[in-house]
């Protein structure tokens, strides 16, 4: 960042956290050894965006390959022509390449992007600020978790450089114990996921303790912003679920290296047991992915419609409810491999998820009702989230129903469903959050027109890509196949075109952000009129966040009584009867 940021708020001693500490080497060293949650959050953000780029490239390779229905030999393998080495000139090796790329896409996007994305980047940066704390509870642990993330990602990249793995991101046992017999690629990739689990645990643990112990004076549990509630809930899941993937992957590594035979059917083990182990973590973790996103949406909707959130407690409790229910529904990933009794039980339990989720969605819509909605970029993304996430949630119901799932299992319907939830949910939410907090993080505004245009391009591209996949799935296109019958070609081509529209949208976002960093105009302390505590800090925040320990004097969404920090009360008329109330509590 440039030194210009420091000048904006030179009045504060020490300047903003972005102020360079000295020359280039000193500054780099300062960032690499920092225990400041804000810097760690920014480092996470860039690391995650880089992995998002890698995963996105893999996704485009997959979509490009699916442009044509059959894998012919040399001429037809688009993937092979572009990326495979000279030996990828047969159908079989070409298919291997396809398998590696969808595995790469899944593994990177899940373990290295979506799971850490919101908590580790935006959560790290804003959770202490929103609580009025100087830092997270264990700052050094926080830095450690970033380094563990980097080490884990290096293992994954090492596996990719060694030609990648083709097991699918779930590492199901017959694949992960039999493929790649003489190499270390699978071990590397599994080790990557294992190591990344530690990073996730440390982050979640840190946040849980921070929320318990470091709230500002006056901030009770129900005065916390809903983003904090959401990150807290996902922290609880991270702590309770992640160790199980740890032991699973550890046993899988033992399985590969020492042939202990716990999961490998050829050695007397039980592959379905592996699936239980895997999904005991990996189902709760999809709520680690989506809960913080829901938190962002709660905040963004309230701030950008300048209205008190509807049903604060309902949303807060539903976060905890989702966290609780998440632990008893993992079997719905295994309806075709489990016993009928267990499938029926899990199917019934799965529908429980709909309750707290619907509570949230209805409360968000009620929040919008009669709000002063401004169509800022974060708000546009929040509305996109509502639309896409609702489709994603509702298409989950036929997958949770046993009879329909037997048809839809492992088809493109599933692919479309979880992309609507994960990408339409989490990625749209992080885009909303990033645009919401960008001015606070970097002290610069961005061009709202182009950012909103990019958001709309992303929205169109997303739907073109994934809505078609619902049709593909219902008609019987199985996932993870490089070849398909010609009847599916039109759908696949529409989907591929959509993926390139998505690329255009994200590239435009990149340009908007770069433009903002270089020549963006200075952001004010509180550009959107937020009431949560991070807007009381200077922009960008100073090294220790606040000049004095802040006192929590109002709820996070009390728009009916409180003038947002940094705003002129004249611009913000509050009815006289409410102002009295505001005065009574110290305004």
């Amino acid at each position: 960042m440039s030194a210009a940021h420091a000048a904006a708020h030179g009045a504060h001693h020490g300047g903003s956290y972005l102020t360079p500490k000295g020359g280039f080497i000193t500054t780099v060293w300062d960032w690499m050894t920092t225990v400041d949650h804000k810097k760690i959050g920014v480092m996470y953000l860039f690391a995650i965006l880089f992995m998002f780029f890698l995963g996105g490239v893999a996704a485009l390779v997959v979509r490009t390959e699916l442009w044509t229905p059959t894998r012919t030999t040399e001429a037809g393998t688009i993937t092979g022509q572009l990326l495979a080495p000279a030996d990828a000139k047969s159908v079989a090796t070409g298919n291997d390449w396809y398998n590696r790329f969808f595995t790469l896409h899944g593994a990177i996007m899940v373990f290295m992007v979506i799971v850490p994305s919101i908590p580790a980047s935006l959560g790290n940066f804003f959770l202490p600020l929103m609580l009025g704390a100087k830092d997270v509870a264990f700052p050094r642990l926080n830095l450690l978790s970033w380094y563990i993330y980097v080490i884990g990602s290096m293992f994954a990249v090492g596996s990719i450089i060694g030609n990648g793995v083709d097991t699918g991101w779930t590492f199901y046992t017959p694949y992960s114990t039999t493929t790649d017999p003489n190499h270390w690629r699978v071990v590397f990739m599994v080790t990557a996921a294992f190591v990344l689990g530690f990073s996730s645990i440390l982050t979640g643990l840190n946040f849980v303790v921070t929320v318990h112990k470091l709230r500002a004076p006056g901030m009770g549990w129900f005065d916390m912003p809903l983003f904090v509630w959401a990150v807290y809930s996902s922290g609880v899941i991270q702590v309770l679920a992640t160790p199980v993937i740890g032991i699973t992957l550890l046993l899988l590594i033992f399985e590969r290296l020492f042939n202990v035979g716990i999961f490998d059917p050829a050695l007397g083990g039980d592959p379905v047991l592996y699936q239980h182990f895997f999904w005991f973590y990996s189902h709760p973790v999809v709520y680690v992915m989506i809960l913080p996103g829901m938190g962002i949406i709660s905040d963004v909707l309230a701030v950008h419609s300048q209205k008190k959130i509807f049903g604060y407690r309902a949303i807060a409790y539903s976060s905890l409810g989702i966290a609780g229910v998440s632990f008893i529904v993992w079997g719905h990933h295994m309806f075709t491999s489990m016993s009928e009794v267990a499938s029926a039980v899990f199917s019934g339990l799965t529908f429980l998820v709909a309750i707290p989720t619907a509570v949230k969605v209805f409360n968000w819509i009620a929040t919008l009702y009669k709000g002063s909605i401004s169509f800022t970029t974060p708000m546009v993304y929040a509305l996109i989230f509502l639309f896409l996430f609702s489709i994603g949630g509702l298409t989950g119901l036929p997958l949770g129903t046993l009879s329909t799932d037997l048809h839809l299992h492992d088809s493109y319907f599933v692919v479309a469903h979880f992309h609507y939830v994960m990408m339409g949910g989490t990625i749209m939410a992080i885009m909303a959050g990033l645009h919401h907090w960008w001015p606070k993080m970097f002290g610069r505004m961005y061009n709202q027109f182009w950012a909103t245009t990019a958001a709309i391009i992303v929205f169109i591209g997303f739907n073109v890509t994934f809505f078609t996949q619902f049709f593909l799935g219902v008609r019987g296109m199985p996932r993870r196949y490089a070849s398909f019958i010609p009847e599916f070609q039109d759908y696949h081509r529409i989907s591929t075109i959509g993926s390139y529209i998505l690329l255009v949208g994200f590239l435009l976002h990149l340009l908007v952000f770069l433009h903002s960093l270089v020549v963006g105009r200075k952001a004010s302390q509180n550009p959107w009129g937020g009431l949560t505590m991070e807007w009381e800090a200077s922009t960008p925040p100073s090294e220790h966040n606040f000049e004095h320990e802040p006192l929590c004097k109002h709820g996070p969404y009390d728009y009916d009584t409180t003038v947002p920090p940094g705003w002129d009360p004249k611009d913000y008329p509050i009815p006289a009867e409410n102002l009295r109330v505001a005065a009574a509590v110290g305004h």
Binding site: H212, R215, A216, P217, G218, G220, F222, D223, V236, L240, A241, V244, G261, P265, A266, L267, G268, G269, D270, V272, L273, H276, F277, F280, F327, I328, W330, G331, M334, M338, S339, E340, V341, A342, V345, F346, K553, G555, D558, D560, T561, E577, N578, V581, A584, V585, G586
Partner: protein
């Protein structure tokens, strides 16, 4: 609408007069609980006693089964051992790990953890123990060469059988019989027996009970303690 939290806030504003800066939320501090050595030593004595007890009871069960020539159900053994282990664990957590004296939040964390462990065990078991409940064809019996167990790469036999064959080749049959008699002598009585002698192949679990002679179906060598039985059908008559 006036702020619903108003009474709370007024209270807080009032309390701000004697606002304790180092403890703004009025939490009860548990500080540093000091547990006297006599308590710690008593707990150690109890833990050691329970260790002796659990070993003793396990021996007693074996002795009872041998002496009275009866078979105790499996759950007796498990229930006793696990109950004692649980008591010991609770003691360690309550006193050594200070949960009894400490912030209750730590206890809540531990309870949630054990609840999660319980969910994990229960739902994994729910699947694996009910695979044969609705459609019986999912619970077919072992056929020759079925892999409910590891098969040797060298000769396609169960790996246990391959190990036996290797030893016989290495030592010769007489020496093998001698060592086997010496090794197995005094073992294999009473406990571990069961009423259900077949395992099944399309899945990796016996419906219930034991796969006593599963090796026989795939192995061609008759084990001394396990008479050969090459029938593919459930051998219920053992």
């Amino acid at each position: 609408m006036p702020n619903a939290l108003l009474p709370l806030r007024l209270l807080m504003a009032h309390a701000a007069h004697h606002f304790n800066e180092s403890n703004p939320h009025g939490e009860k501090h548990h500080g540093h609980p000091i547990i006297p050595p006599i308590t710690l030593s008593t707990v150690l004595a109890i833990l050691l006693f329970f260790t002796v007890l659990t070993v003793g009871l396990a021996q007693l069960e074996v002795w009872i089964q041998g002496y009275f020539n009866i078979i105790l159900p499996h759950w007796v053994n498990i229930a006793i051992a696990m109950s004692i282990a649980t008591v010991k664990a609770v003691l360690v957590m309550a006193i050594f790990m200070q949960l009894r004296y400490d912030n209750k939040m730590n206890t809540v964390v531990m309870l949630f953890t054990f609840f999660a462990v319980g969910l994990f065990l229960f739902f994994s078991g729910l699947d694996l123990f009910t695979r044969d409940r609705v459609t019986p064809w999912k619970a077919q019996t072992v056929v020759k060469g079925g892999t409910g167990f590891m098969v040797s790469q060298a000769n396609g036999k169960p790996i246990t059988q391959a190990a036996r064959d290797r030893a016989i080749t290495l030592w010769g049959p007489e020496k093998f019989a001698k060592i086997e008699a010496a090794t197995l002598h005094g073992h294999d009585h009473g406990h571990g027996a069961s009423d259900s002698p077949y395992s099944n192949a399309s899945k990796s679990r016996a419906p219930r009970g034991v796969t006593v002679h599963a090796a026989d179906h795939a192995g061609d060598h008759a084990a001394p303690h396990a008479p050969a039985d090459n029938h593919a059908a459930p051998a219920g008559g053992h």
